[in-house]
C-alpha cells in the first residue's frame, strides 16, 4: 500500500469499500427493492432496480472515497497557490471511456429486460410481448374515469365491474383507456403502470405469480380526487376466478345490456365542451 501513490491508494480503498458495500446491498437491501416478485414483469423490474442500485453504490463509493481523501489532504496551508495543473489527458480518457462503458452496459441491460416484457404500458401496438404458456392471455380492460377505475372483462361475458380480480399464473393483457382526462393505472406489486389517455388504448402485459391483494393507485394527476383514486385488487386461483366471474356477472346483469359495445376506446361526447 505504501508504494502506491495517493491515487493508487484511493483506487484500492474504492474497490474494497465498493466490494463490501455492494455485497451488503445485494444481500440485505436488494431483495426488498420494489416491485417485488408478484409477477414475472415485477421480478424483471426488480432485477433492474437491483443492478442500478449496485452500479450507484459503486459510483458513490468512488466519488466519496476521492472526496474524503481530497477534502482532508488538500486543505489550505499558508497563503500559497496550488500547482498549476490544468488537466491530465490520460485521466480524462479513462473517465470518458469508463463512464461511456457503464452507460452502454446499462442501456443494453435495460433493453434486454424490456425485451422480456418488463415494461409497463406499451401503447396500442406493443412490441415486447412476453412469451406465455398454456392458455391465451386473459383480456381485461381498465377504464379510468374521474375518479375511479372500473374493469371490463370482454372474454368472460363482456361485463364491467368495479373490482379487479385476476387469476394467478395466467398472462393478462390489459387495455388501459380513459373516459376523460389522463390517468395512470399503477399496481406496484405487479410491476404494472400504464397511462390512461382519452381516445387511446394502452396495452400492458402482466402474469401474476402470487395470490393475495394488491394495491392500485392512480399515478397521474387527474383532478380533485386524484389522491383518492386508489383501491385494491385480488389475485386468486383460477377456480376462484371462475366462480367470482359467475357471481359478479349475476350481480351486474341489470346494467350489462346498457353498456356500449366493447371497444378499445370510448370517446366522450364532444358536446360537453369549453372553458
Amino acid at each position: 500500500m505504501r508504494r502506491l501513490g495517493p491515487l493508487g491508494r484511493i483506487l484500492v480503498v474504492w474497490l474494497v469499500t465498493s466490494a463490501i458495500a455492494m455485497t451488503l446491498v445485494a444481500v440485505f437491501l436488494a431483495p426488498h427493492l420494489p416491485p417485488g416478485s408478484g409477477s414475472k414483469e415485477a421480478a424483471g423490474q426488480q432485477l433492474d432496480n437491483e443492478v442500478l442500485t449496485l452500479v450507484s453504490v459503486f459510483v458513490v463509493a468512488g466519488v466519496f472515497t476521492y472526496l474524503g481523501y481530497a477534502l482532508i489532504a488538500f486543505r489550505e496551508r499558508g497563503d500559497s497557490d496550488g500547482p498549476p495543473i490544468r488537466g491530465n489527458g490520460r485521466a480524462q480518457t479513462i473517465w470518458v471511456v469508463g463512464t461511456t462503458v457503464i452507460v452502454l452496459f446499462l442501456a443494453a441491460f435495460g433493453t434486454y429486460q424490456l425485451l422480456g416484457g418488463a415494461g409497463g404500458g406499451q401503447g396500442a401496438e406493443p412490441v415486447f410481448v412476453p412469451a406465455h404458456s398454456g392458455q391465451s392471455p386473459l383480456q381485461v380492460q381498465v377504464i379510468a374515469q374521474q375518479w375511479q377505475f372500473t374493469y371490463r372483462y370482454p372474454t368472460e361475458g363482456d361485463f364491467e365491474s368495479a373490482h379487479l380480480v385476476l387469476p394467478v399464473d395466467r398472462q393478462i393483457e390489459l387495455h388501459v383507456t380513459s373516459l376523460d382526462v389522463i390517468h395512470s393505472f399503477w399496481v406496484p406489486a405487479l410491476g404494472l403502470k400504464a397511462d390512461a389517455n382519452p381516445g387511446a388504448d394502452n396495452i400492458a402485459y402482466v402474469t401474476p405469480e402470487k395470490l393475495g391483494n394488491v394495491q392500485i393507485h392512480c399515478a397521474e394527476l387527474c383532478g380533485l380526487f386524484h389522491g383518492y383514486m386508489f383501491g385494491s385488487g385480488s389475485i386468486v386461483t383460477p377456480s376462484a376466478f371462475a366462480s367470482w366471474v359467475a357471481s359478479e356477472r349475476r350481480f351486474v346483469a341489470p346494467v350489462t345490456h346498457y353498456l356500449p359495445a366493447y371497444s378499445t376506446t370510448y370517446l366522450p361526447d364532444p358536446s360537453f365542451r369549453a372553458g
Partner: protein
C-alpha cells in the same frame, strides 16, 4: 448616508408588508372550504342518521358565487337548505338518505354506474318503486362513495316536465324525483363522495367547475 439607510429600511418594510398581505391572502383562501354539517343521531341498538339532500340544476346567487352551477344541498334540523358537502356521521351506523332530485338528466359517462351498489340490498326506491338499475341516459347525478363501494344513480327530471325549479333552494312543488336508500357507515375515517355524471354544463367532459370543487358535487363523509 442616513437617507439611504432609511430608504433601505422603508423598502424592506414595504416588502415585509407585501409579504404579510400575500400571506394573509393565501392563508385566508387556503382555509376556505365547505363547513361540516353533523345531522342528529337517533339513538338505538344501531345508531341511525337521517340525511335529506336535494340536487339542483342551478344553485343560485344566494347560496354561491357561481349561480349557474349544479349542486347538492343538505337540509338541517331547522329545515333550511345548506350548501355544504362535508357531513359528519357516526361510525357503524345506519344512514337513511332521501334525495329530492330537481335536475334534468345528463346521462352517465360510464353506463356501468347505473347499477345500484353498496346500499342495503343493493337497491333504491325511486318515487316509491324499488329499483336495482336505471337507464343510464336518465341519470342526472349520482351519489357515490367509491371507498365504500356505494353508488346510487339519481334519476333525472324529464325535459318536458312542468314547473321545473330555477334557482335553488327548490321546493317540493317543483318537478322532482324522490330517491331513498340506506347504507351502513364503516369504521372511522374520511371517505370522499362524488357525482359520476358529467353534469357540470359548459366544462370539458362535464367534469369541471362544480364537479371538481368541494361544496357542490363532491364532498366527504367524516365518520367518527
Amino acid at each position: 448616508m442616513r437617507s439611504t439607510g432609511v430608504k433601505i429600511l422603508v423598502t424592506v418594510a414595504g416588502f415585509a408588508v407585501a409579504g404579510v398581505l400575500v400571506g394573509f391572502y393565501i392563508v385566508g383562501w387556503l382555509m376556505s372550504g365547505p363547513s361540516v354539517y353533523r345531522p342528529p343521531v337517533i339513538a338505538g341498538t344501531t345508531k341511525t342518521v337521517d340525511l335529506t339532500l336535494q340536487t339542483v340544476a342551478a344553485v343560485g346567487p344566494t347560496l354561491s358565487p357561481n349561480p349557474d352551477w349544479v349542486s347538492y344541498l343538505v337540509r338541517d334540523e331547522q329545515g333550511r337548505w345548506r350548501r355544504t358537502t362535508i357531513w359528519a356521521l357516526p361510525a357503524h351506523a345506519l344512514v337513511r338518505v332521501t334525495v329530492y332530485q330537481f335536475d334534468g338528466d345528463s346521462g352517465l359517462r360510464n353506463p356501468f354506474m347505473a347499477r345500484v351498489r353498496g346500499t342495503l340490498g343493493n337497491r333504491m326506491r325511486v318515487n316509491g318503486r324499488t329499483l336495482e338499475v336505471i337507464d343510464p341516459d336518465d341519470a342526472s347525478h349520482t351519489f357515490a362513495v367509491p371507498q365504500l363501494g356505494l353508488i346510487v344513480p339519481l334519476k333525472g327530471v324529464a325535459d318536458d316536465a312542468k314547473n321545473q325549479c330555477g334557482y335553488a333552494p327548490c321546493s317540493l312543488s317543483n318537478a322532482h324525483n324522490t330517491i331513498t336508500f340506506s347504507f351502513r357507515t364503516p369504521g372511522p375515517g374520511r371517505y370522499r363522495w362524488q357525482c359520476f355524471v358529467p353534469c357540470a354544463a359548459g366544462f370539458l367532459d362535464g367534469f369541471g367547475g362544480p364537479m371538481q370543487t368541494l361544496g357542490y358535487m363532491d364532498g366527504f363523509l367524516d365518520v367518527s
